[in-house]
Subunit: 579 residues, 2 copies
């Protein structure tokens, strides 16, 4: 194994054989050669510059000193290489200095960097999201001043939403923005408040850091507006245009279980009189603006989780083929065999493959929908699938990494191997950018009970897969199972719509998301199994893994739906239960 | 919350209301006061001496220096306190200096220490197991020389089974023991070989360390016998009776993801000519001797995993009651509420309670069976349940700790809170003392397909619970479900017995163990829900948690049985699947 990243044949299968990205106008224009060149480059840079410091960055966390935060120098070197090769800009339009590559190609590229070093890859992911937000909602002057340096990879960006008392509940944000005149960069404010969990909040890698800050403008009475409607978005650079330090202080670093190379800060704004910031777009639009970007950020989290799962899977395969231990059941003599020959280890490898490739397939499918944003059904489907793309890879990618440790036995629990770090890194993904519980409410509430366009499109597409699979003698039984599963989910939704106390419909939103997510992945596995790729071995492996998913995973869907279907409000939990 | 350990009322419920340990002769003799005194003492010592250095021991790992291994001084201080109070000896017979307390009481005591600091608690656990093995199989002279100092807590013990090339596969052990005369301590040997994963393998806490080493005596041709039948057991002390150093060298330390306070060593035996060891019992009995102790060690692993789950649960409850975030669904104004009021958080707390208390119940039930070792059906049932007691708490205790992180949100992912460490610590438990895959083979092969006494006893006891629950209007539906589940498991076993290629019956042994384990815990939850304890609030909470387990967890059993029932040998995995 030259490196443990995602095999190129897998990406080629997903992008070309399965999703047929050649049909996208941007790809048709560039030609497959450009896509190939970007994927080649990404694999090489990820392997050469991101992978080598994976463990070092875990062992040498960022340090806060009097002059700011210092990160492992290898992180900066890798990111400067990334910038020099134009990878920050690849997805931006040519007029912004980019190549105009589709989101799905950028996502496939990002997956390699995330597989190599998720913590280092987080910096460009945040920076690109930041720049895209400014490019979308900012003025031309703001774009020139704050987006272009990020697109060039000279400045990095952050997203400042959470506060110590406001994580999932952004309505309670207390950062205050007071009007302070106007200049060429827009309407100017002075911000005061505390922002928590700021990834990339300070470091010594880039020339400047552009913070995008959610804050509230007080009313005439000086009080902050209630709810999320009062949130506006502000550009707050670390260094002001004149080179002076803005009033943003690092109040402390969070020391995490994993993802340690990504510095995570508590930032104090305005301790010296108010941090200077310029409003993006109109007042009160902050959350809406953030959420347009948040969808892509959520797919990005999913890709990262899938990539960690993939890498753990590849380490497991390599280890299982090398490690000799035990004999076939019933045999007591002869030399020990490779553990990859034991059925239980094969089960653990198949499960990892099903989770990792299923997760990656889902995220790239969603990235494809991002690229089809002109198409209303695609956009509705994207909205529906985004909470799944955030959650399923995070939950099951972690399960894959858990199995990767198990395949390695005691060695997997030591820091001499990478799998324990992959597992620690991946544990974050079910938390940041909206926890699993938050995604479940989004899926069931906003995306299903309140709207139905995405649901209709999903059922339609699943129907096409079922119809095609019904004609394949091996896959036909799975087609029947899949159709029945989705019928069951539809019945569950009908029951939830009929619940007398509407709020109690959400009591088991998370088990519902678990069921829904597995049913989505079952659909995608069946759809992938239908592809007859030129790579016959890969086609066979896809079909075998599809079968594993239907044998071992699909039966769980009914188990998760049971409490959703049966639990009513009579089962409320009394406070004393936990005494 | 004065401390996050296991509440006394929970232990009282399990020991007295549910398991009625007063019926055990040893408890009847001592009286409940002695049990209460031991539990009081354990709680206090665990809270005062084990809990405070939990995080310190994680941050300051054992160090290997030229004079040996040094551990955090607080570990030694805690263990000397533990020894001074007679806790090493509590379970041994009075003639060995102990109190003769039943195993179940010692287990409940151990659970508190494991909850407080699993890594520090591992030292006495290993030492007691070592001393018990010598006390069972050793000569009177060996007992005096090597067991008594451990029972007094002056010397500590280890178990040396694994080697770098032989973990799960002990048949491949290559440590060689050459006969070297005989003395008062028994037949003497010189040992050479490498032992891996030796917990407590060296440290600066106790006066001496007694290694129990599995090794093979070469035949007349100088070759080591094949298979596990050739394994014998040897006492190899770090310091010989004359005070000289034995030929045992620490070749390195394993750096683990968690459990860091427990030093874990690679030991080289015989680099200087041969480590002196005395055989315990007869040649070729090594594995049988180890396994008698291993059953208790496996229950001990389960108790540790359950204790970690319990502590994470208690941290979660405390945090969820304090942390204000969000509003009830449908409300947009008013102050934020405690997250313990959100149904999704309640679900995560209930799940943790169900896992932690279910796991602890299982382990104490098994400990009770250990105490009834004169009774053949109890012994058979203990054999059947031991792989479950090892595995279920390890797998679901980890799931509980995962939820504990999730309840804490981003804070739970930081090292400022204890839950991330609980999660890292607990991840070991599915690996050591026989991985989950090994336990699954033991359950399905040795304990079910080869023998049926334990199965008959289990079905009988479940039948009694079902009959009793059928008379309770609330619990009657669960009784029906439980009976049906066990009928399904019985049918699965019949199918597996009829498999044409017997070895393929084991292909899905691990999903079978998952199903079996959940069905065992469902039985115990129903059995606990039948108890009418004086503590009415606790009784109500048990019934509510039982309901949660039947709503959310029992449906999974069918999902795990599906692949066991359907997968035949036609589904073998070709080697190319993982390319």
């Amino acid at each position: 194994m030259p490196h443990p990243l995602i095999p190129r044949r897998e990406l080629d299968f997903l992008l070309h054989d399965w999703l047929r990205i050649g049909d996208l106008p941007a790809v048709a224009e560039h030609g497959r050669e450009t896509v190939d060149a970007i994927l080649d480059l990404s694999e090489q840079v990820a392997a050469d510059h991101f992978l080598p410091h994976y463990k070092d960055a875990d062992m040498h966390e960022p340090r806060l000193e009097t002059d700011g935060v210092h990160v492992l120098p290898a992180i900066g070197m890798a990111l400067r290489e990334y910038a020099a090769l134009g990878l920050f800009s690849a997805g931006f339009a040519p007029e912004l200095g980019g190549l105009g590559l589709p989101y799905i190609v950028c996502s496939a590229s990002f997956a390699q960097f995330a597989a190599a070093n998720i913590a280092t890859a987080a910096y460009p992911m945040l920076t690109v999201a930041n720049a895209r937000l400014i490019a979308t909602f900012g003025t031309a002057v703001q774009i020139d001043a704050f987006a272009r340096p990020q697109i060039a990879g000279r400045w990095f960006g952050t997203m400042c939403l959470s506060e110590p008392q406001a994580g999932s509940g952004l309505a309670d944000v207390r950062t205050r923005a007071e009007r302070d005149g106007e200049d060429a960069l827009g309407v100017r404010y002075r911000l005061t408040g505390n922002k928590m969990w700021i990834s990339g909040g300070d470091h010594d890698v880039s020339e400047n850091i552009v913070h995008l800050v959610l804050a509230k403008v007080p009313g005439p009475d000086g009080a902050l507006p209630e709810g999320t409607e009062g949130l506006s978005l502000f550009i707050v650079p670390k260094l002001l245009p004149d080179g002076a330090r803005n009033d943003v202080q690092v109040a402390g670093l969070n020391h995490k279980m994993g993802y340690r190379g990504t510095v995570n800060c508590l930032l104090n704004l305005g301790e010296g009189g108010g941090a200077v910031g310029w409003m993006v777009g109109d007042p009160g639009q902050g959350l809406r603006q953030m959420f347009l970007m948040m969808n892509e950020a959520r797919i990005g989290v999913g890709i990262g989780a899938a990539a960690l799962a993939y890498r753990g899977y590849r380490h497991s395969v390599a280890y299982a083929r090398e490690r000799l231990q035990g004999r076939p059941i019933g045999e007591r003599a002869g030399p020990p065999i490779a553990i990859a020959e034991h059925p239980d280890v094969q089960r653990m490898l198949l499960a990892q493959k099903a989770y990792a490739e299923g997760a990656l397939a889902l995220c790239l499918y969603c990235a494809m929908l991002v690229d089809r944003h002109g198409d209303a059904p695609s956009t509705a489907l994207l909205g529906l699938l985004t909470p799944v793309a955030k959650t399923w890879p995070s939950e099951w990618g972690l399960a894959a990494n858990d199995l990767a440790i198990q395949v390695h036995g005691g060695y997997g629990y030591t820091r001499d191997f990478d799998v324990e770090q992959l597992y620690r890194d991946n544990r974050l993904n079910a938390i940041h950018e909206g926890t699993t519980g938050i995604q479940a409410l989004d899926l069931l509430g906003r995306k299903l009970l309140r709207d139905s366009a995405g649901w209709a499109e999903l059922r339609c597409r699943i129907g096409l897969t079922v119809a095609a699979a019904a004609k394949d003698v091996t896959l036909a039984p799975f087609a029947v199972t899949l159709a029945q599963m989705w019928e069951n989910i539809a019945l569950t939704l009908e029951r939830l719509r009929a619940v007398k106390q509407p709020e109690s419909a959400f009591d088991n939103a998370t088990p519902f998301l678990s069921a829904f997510g597995h049913a989505v992945i079952a659909w995608l596995w069946l759809d992938m199994a239908l592809v007859q790729a030129e790579d016959l071995a890969l086609t066979a492996a896809k079909r075998r893994t599809c079968r594993h998913f239907f044998d071992h995973e699909v039966p769980k869907i009914a188990a998760w739906l049971t409490p959703v279907d049966t639990r009513g409000s009579e089962s409320k939990v009394s406070a004393g239960t936990f005494d």
